[in-house]
């Protein structure tokens, strides 16, 4: 089948009749035209059935033709839950139905509809749990039935990016109000962004008739659109959705694969309103749709929605649709008006003149289905005898199309996200938006204005308001906006003894489901939502919110205003995760020497955002490599890249005072050219970082911090100084320096070759620091040298500007070659420092570790008046201690039996946990297992034993051992 059956132009604004497109649905091939959506092309081919409903698996088809309902959700190859009435067809596109067992046509699960009476609202709270444990079984079955589409687990994101935009005025929606608002604002000199979700500008002007002749709207539209498109101040963005309102008019606008992050000085929402359905039995059958959906099918896609139509309406809109249908050759069997009389008699006359029957005070009580509920075949029409009540006499009218309009609900989502309130006007039977925040304006039908002139005036008014705020344009009197048009029928809800009068199509909820939720105690509309799931489906209450509010108000004796609607949350329409995520950024850092490590076969591991060598060699030779590297440090010379170590520079007259307040030690009298251990506690007295403080001048400190801790340390320093106002500049220079630690008994010999500095034991003693130069064949490199003892051997940290990092590495490796220098990695360093009993903050400390537990009393100056955390440290140290970090040893033989404690294993005391292992390694130098552990204070005495539970639940006895394990007199590092 193809487009021979399409209506003649000017119907079909969106399609290009000379560009046919082939696609498939459920394995069958169809043809449509460029510009068709999946839904319009399918209906154009007579294929109405598009999906199966969530709970009862009822056949569903287009309801709004505007992407506002879940009835058209289909599955593309890697995209579940795609809106068929919004997604264009493309050549060879493969479309499938979703959520069915068997075929879409013959869904075995449709049987669930028959059991509806056994599934009252919230039935799953009342069943499936007896006997105990049975839920586990039921859940698996129910989970399989839940969910709609299927995820393609092999899919990847594709390319998505972001762009920032700034505009004086952003207008959301390009209906008559939006177009007029954009023009007025642009004429006033504002830079305007006009956002329209459809392909065509014009909103309701593109499909709605507005008056009986049906010519006025087109003329208005072409005039406005041409002005907008030519206006230099207006940027038009079609097929773009403003998907949320965030604080201060921060608007995410999605167009294709791009997220525009738009900041608007003034924002005008002209988002229109959603036509509402009438709630009656079988109102979900394919062939039952909104009046506007039928209008759209004809006007936009030249698709005739049916041969014989019935219109069910609570306003004059239905009459306009009747005229549209009649003009396009559809027989209109009747206009069934729920009201006593139309508002515009001339419109009714125009309808009557076409020979169309009009019934007043009447409604469709039930839509009659064809076999399998696949389409509407007729309607049961009754006289309305009271609110929601009908007379017993019925008239059956045959039809294959039922168009309905119960009224309109403002597209309130963005506005409510911005804090606006919805209040219900009982006279007009509609919700209105009030209490808008500053710089946010509304215009058009979202503002309750419906007649075309009034809508355009309202757009102008909003724009003039915006210009006023912006201080642009000339002062003008604001146009008065009058609209007498009443569009909402107050009770378009007709209960049927056999139910299936759907309030919420997404969730298959009927009148009784909503009412019964209130009867079993869930009276608040939020509780009704949570209990019944009304409004929780993909369309997020666009059609269910209004009837739900009315039903709940009625059932709980409250006003509709008091009842309200549930909270609107972003996003406005479902948005692809990839669009919000944007390009995938995977931030990581590499030191200036990174490529040297890789070339040397290093096993790289993450350390914060950095990459560091763990050791050099193959993973399977890990222990051997580490042992060999350790041996080189202990007995020869080796070098480790410590560029990732944090570096913070403090300069200024108050630099020493700043250091003194931040770190626990005393720093006021730290001599120039000397280093000091620096411990940082937080306000709770917990040790949170450590480093080495170097004083290079009276007013210049260079202090190191841990790789992962430096950002926090820096942030805290600047935060504190925002309060203290000391005269000091604080700079995080971590990435400005590359650094190595050259360690081992032969390190001095290597360094001697590279510098003019006196590096003798007397000239450059332990804990001294120097500024000097490292010689290279290409010139000298400025360097900071620190004599440190972390690994317990003679050693020098050499810090140079990052750009010289690779050169530094190369020259050291070259100078050390004659001694057989080798690189060592982080894992080796961890072993070496453990042998010396040095803690690693964050490995050997936790969120509770205070200096007393860590035996860092010596690193605290208790005489100085203040440092961050001092009050807490004093209190904690004065209190009774509960645990202590101690060194321990175990026989090396345990390595063979696999009983070496691992970091994180527990220390026991009787049946209780008294501590845990924080570090544990086999030490080749000592041929023993050594480690650090928190133990109870009563377990901390040197030489005493404590139990550790190791892998497999076994327990071993560890012996508390004085630190350091290696070279207890510290002779080696002080050589």
């Amino acid at each position: 089948m193809s487009g021979e059956q399409r209506l003649a132009a000017p119907m079909g604004l969106l399609i290009e009749r000379d560009q046919p497109v082939s696609f498939s649905f459920e394995g069958r091939h169809y043809r449509g035209y460029k510009g068709d959506t999946i839904a319009s092309a399918l209906i154009g081919n007579g294929q109405w059935l598009m999906s199966r409903s969530f709970k009862y698996h009822r056949p569903r088809s287009a309801l709004t033709m505007a992407g506002q309902d879940a009835n058209t959700l289909v599955q593309l190859a890697s995209d579940p839950n795609v809106l068929a009435d919004r997604t264009p067809i493309a050549e060879a596109l493969r479309v499938e139905g979703q959520n069915y067992a068997g075929t879409l046509e013959n869904d075995r699960d449709a049987i669930l509809g028959k059991f509806g009476r056994f599934m009252p609202v919230g039935f799953y709270y009342r069943a499936f749990y007896k006997p105990k444990g049975i839920w586990d079984w039921w859940e698996k079955i129910i989970r399989k039935k839940a969910g709609l589409g299927t995820v393609d687990l092999t899919a990847t994101a594709g390319y998505h990016d972001k762009e920032f935009l700034h505009h004086d005025v952003v207008v959301v929606g390009s209906g008559p109000a939006g177009l007029q608002a954009a023009l007025t604002a642009a004429d006033g000199g504002a830079s305007v962004l006009l956002v329209e979700e459809n392909t065509l500008l014009g909103g309701s002007l593109t499909y709605s008739r507005f008056e009986s002749t049906g010519v006025h709207a087109d003329a208005v539209r072409s005039e406005l659109v041409s002005q907008v498109e030519q206006h230099a101040n207006i940027r038009v963005m079609t097929e773009a959705v403003c998907n949320a309102w965030f604080t201060d008019n921060w608007l995410p606008v999605i167009k294709g694969n791009r997220l525009y992050k738009v900041r608007a000085k003034e924002c005008i929402i002209a988002s229109g309103s959603y036509e509402q359905h009438v709630v009656f039995r079988n109102n979900d059958l394919p062939g039952v749709m909104m009046c506007s959906a039928a209008d759209r099918l004809m006007k936009l896609y030249a698709v005739s929605p049916g041969k014989r139509a019935v219109i069910l309406t609570g306003n004059d809109e239905g009459y306009l649709t009747a005229l549209n249908l009649a003009d396009q050759g559809t027989e209109v069997a009747a206009v069934i008006d729920m009201r006593a009389q139309p508002q515009s008699q001339s419109l009714a006359d125009a309808v009557s003149q076409r020979g169309i029957r009009i019934l007043h005070n009447s409604t469709v009580y039930e839509a009659l289905p064809t076999a399998g509920n696949l389409h509407v075949r007729g309607v049961d029409v009754r006289t309305i005898s009271g609110q929601g009540k009908v007379a017993p006499q019925s008239e059956i009218i045959d039809c294959d199309l039922l168009c309905m309009s119960a009224g309109f609900m403002p597209a309130y989502q963005l506005l409510c996200q911005a804090g606006a309130q919805l209040s219900y006007d009982d006279d007009k039977a509609r919700f209105e938006l009030t209490r808008l925040p500053q710089h946010l304006l509304i215009a058009g039908s979202v503002n309750g204005v419906y007649s075309l002139d009034a809508v355009m005036n309202d757009g102008k008014r909003a724009a003039l308001n915006a210009l006023q705020s912006l201080g642009l344009g000339q002062a003008q009197t604001l146009p008065e906006v009058h609209c007498e048009q009443q569009v909402n029928f107050n009770w378009p809800i007709f209960k049927h003894p056999q139910s299936k009068e759907f309030v919420d199509f997404d969730e298959d909820l009927q009148i009784k489901d909503i009412v019964n939720a209130t009867r079993v105690g869930y009276r608040d509309v939020q509780l009704v939502k949570r209990f019944s799931t009304v409004g929780m489906g993909p369309s997020q209450g666009r059609h269910s919110a209004l009837p739900t509010a009315r039903l709940v108000a009625n059932a709980t004796d409250r006003t509709v205003s008091e009842t309200g609607v549930t909270t609107a949350r972003p996003p406005f329409v479902a948005e692809k995760l990839a669009v919000i995520a944007g390009r995938s950024f995977d931030p990581y850092r590499q030191s200036a020497m990174h490529h040297r490590h890789v070339a040397l076969g290093a096993k790289m591991i993450p350390a914060g955002s950095w990459q560091r060598p763990a050791f050099y060699g193959a993973q399977e030779r890990r222990l051997e490599c580490i042992a060999a590297e350790a041996d080189a440090v202990r007995n020869n010379v080796a070098v480790i890249d410590v560029s990732t170590l944090g570096g913070i520079e403090l300069r200024g007259p108050d630099a020493a005072e700043m250091m003194n307040r931040i770190y626990t030690f005393g720093f006021l009298k730290q001599p120039v050219g000397r280093t000091r251990y620096a411990v940082l506690t937080n306000e709770q007295g917990v040790v949170v970082d450590d480093g080495v403080s170097c004083r290079f001048a009276d007013d210049c400190f260079y202090v190191t911090a841990t790789t992962t801790g430096v950002d926090g340390v820096y942030r805290n320093m600047t935060r504190w100084n925002a309060m203290w106002r000391l005269n000091v500049d604080i700079t995080n220079v971590t990435s400005a320096f590359a650094a190595v630690n050259l360690a081992g008994p032969n390190s001095r010999k290597v360094l001697e070759k590279l510098t003019e500095l006196d590096v003798s034991a007397a000239g450059f003693p332990y804990l001294a620091c120097r500024e000097g130069e490292i010689k290279t064949p290409l010139g000298n490199i400025p360097a900071r040298l620190l004599r440190v003892g972390f690994v317990g051997e003679l050693g020098y940290e050499i810090h140079v500007p990052s750009r010289y990092g690779e050169a530094l590495w190369d020259i050291i490796m070259e100078a050390g070659a004659e001694f057989g220098i080798r690189p060592f990695g982080v894992e080796t360093q961890r072993l070496l420092r453990l042998e010396k009993g040095h803690i690693i903050v964050s490995q050997d400390t936790d969120g509770m570790s205070h200096p007393g537990e860590l035996s860092l009393d010596w690193a605290i100056n208790r005489k100085k008046p203040f440092y961050v955390g001092c009050r807490s440290v004093d209190i904690v140290m004065a209190a009774e201690q509960t645990r202590k970090l101690v060194g321990f040893t175990l026989p090396a033989a345990l390595m063979k039996s696999g009983s070496k404690p691992e970091e994180g294993h527990l220390v026991l005391r009787g049946a209780d946990i008294s501590g845990n292992i924080t570090s544990c390694e086999y030490s080749p130098a000592l041929d023993a297992i050594i480690g650090l552990a928190y133990v109870g204070t009563d377990q901390a005495e040197n030489g005493s034993q404590f139990r550790v539970r190791v892998s497999g639940g076994r327990e071993v006895e560890a012996t508390v051992t004085a630190l350091p394990f290696y070279d207890p007199d510290n002779q080696r590092q002080e050589m």
Binding site: A127, A574, E575, K576, D586, G685, D846, G847, G904
Partner: protein, 415 residues
């Protein structure tokens, strides 16, 4: 089809009055033995256990909004006990045990679903921390293991094991990890409490605490003053504000915490998966939606507005872990308000005001502790202020004595 559904289906009069889960509203009395401020999970659970175990039913639960509408409604329903400290593990493990019985105890299905929770280690420091949590959990009888990449692949075949530069090295597999229908937990407790005589007053906001001689005597509300013998505050994100009304300060800083959910899709993910390194956790609900959550907002705030920045970062991370989720569609984004303590443990028990009991500081760990919290708070009330052993470690004065219960590492991005 279960029998219970037949009986509804075959009777045209459903629902009967006796089927009501919650009674219709009643007038507020002038005095109650116990006033519970806050009709969230914790408040109604306290009322439930007061009635059930202690026969105390002259109780009013005062809720400013609707039942369970605060963090009970906003949390992402993770139930687990894989904490770090002995005090924490004992407490939460007891909660998990109670949870497993609730559906049958309530005669109301809370859809307790034991999926297991998998927390991913991307660094060796995470492995160390996870090993300790595993050992502490096992020590107290919990089902937790430290597992390797192969086992992770088997549990979650759809997980990207090499996201960016942070490959998955190991996992903390907590078999007791579970989820439940969060609203139903509050409803079940409210049903049980009101059926036993407690009164639930929704839309009733406490605006002041009345004390005499350092002792609570009543509360002011938007519906008038109410006298009481004992008051319990259980108000999740507003603990400090209530305490201020009662005349004291709590060591709490309050941050918003956001979460988001996709459209429903057919099941592909069974365990709850969490990655502290990516500040991201992902789980699939019974309805098929994917719930995604992460870290708190960076600054203190009482607002529940959503924001864009957090969503951008969080979804990027979720896609790192599950690349195919790029094509899923996000349906809803929301925020709750979390009362954070410095040690990531709650504040429970006595307060500086006599007979005014605290159930506060529930940060991001409140939902999972609902049953044990209700039970112990009821014990505290019924005993006239004798603090149960299980909650002694969470006393407010621990912030003066520095005897904190640090669960920071066991809380980040795992809620």
């Amino acid at each position: 089809m279960p029998f219970s559904l037949l009986k509804y289906g075959l009777n045209n009069d459903y629902p009967f009055e006796k089927d009501a889960d919650l009674p219709p509203p009643v007038p507020l009395k002038s005095h109650y033995d116990v006033v519970i401020i806050g009709g969230g999970g914790h408040g109604v659970a306290t009322a439930y256990y007061l009635a059930k175990y202690h026969g105390i039913t002259n109780v009013a639960i005062l809720e400013k909004g609707y039942l369970g509408g605060g963090n009970t409604a906003r949390n992402t329903a993770v139930i687990r006990s894989n904490y770090l400290t002995s005090e924490g593990v004992k407490f939460y493990a007891e909660s998990v045990k109670l949870y497993q019985e609730l559906s049958n105890e309530f005669d109301f299905n809370i859809m307790y679903s034991r999926r297991g929770q998998l927390t991913l280690a991307h660094t060796d420091s995470a492995i160390r921390a996870f090993r300790q949590r595993t050992e502490v959990n096992k020590h107290f009888g919990g089902k937790t293991e430290l597992i390797g990449p192969q086992e992770i692949r088997e549990l979650v075949p759809t997980l990207n094991m090499n996201p960016g530069h942070l490959p998955v090295l190991a996992g903390l597999w907590h078999m007791d990890g579970a989820t439940a229908r969060h609203d139903a937990v509050a409803w079940g407790y409210a049903k049980g409490a009101t059926q036993r005589g407690a009164e639930l007053h929704q839309l009733t906001e406490v605006t002041g605490i009345k004390t005499e001689n350092g002792k609570v005597v009543g509360v002011k509300t938007n519906r008038g003053d109410v006298g009481c013998g004992v008051a319990v505050q259980a108000v999740s994100g507003h603990s400090s504000l209530l305490a201020e009304m009662a005349g004291f300060r709590l060591p709490i800083v309050t941050y918003p915490l956001q979460a988001m959910v996709t459209q429903p899709v057919k099941p592909f993910l069974n365990p709850l998966v969490s990655s502290p390194a990516y500040h991201c956790y992902v789980q699939q609900t019974g309805r098929g939606e994917i719930v995604i959550g992460g870290g708190s907002d960076p600054y203190p705030l009482y607002g529940t507005r959503s924001d864009l920045n957090l969503k951008e970062g969080l979804l990027a991370h979720a896609i790192e872990l599950f690349p195919f989720m790029a094509n899923l569609k996000l349906m809803r984004q929301w925020a709750g308000i979390t009362d954070m303590t410095s040690d990531y443990s709650p504040i429970m028990g006595l307060s500086p005001v006599e007979n005014y009991y605290l159930d506060a500081g529930w940060g991001t760990w409140g939902f999972k502790s609902t049953p044990i919290c209700g039970k112990t708070m009821a014990e505290l009330v019924a005993s006239g202020g004798k603090v149960p052993d299980l909650i002694k470690p969470f006393a407010m004065d621990r912030f003066d004595t520095f005897r904190q219960v640090n669960e920071m590492g066991a809380t980040a991005a795992s809620h």
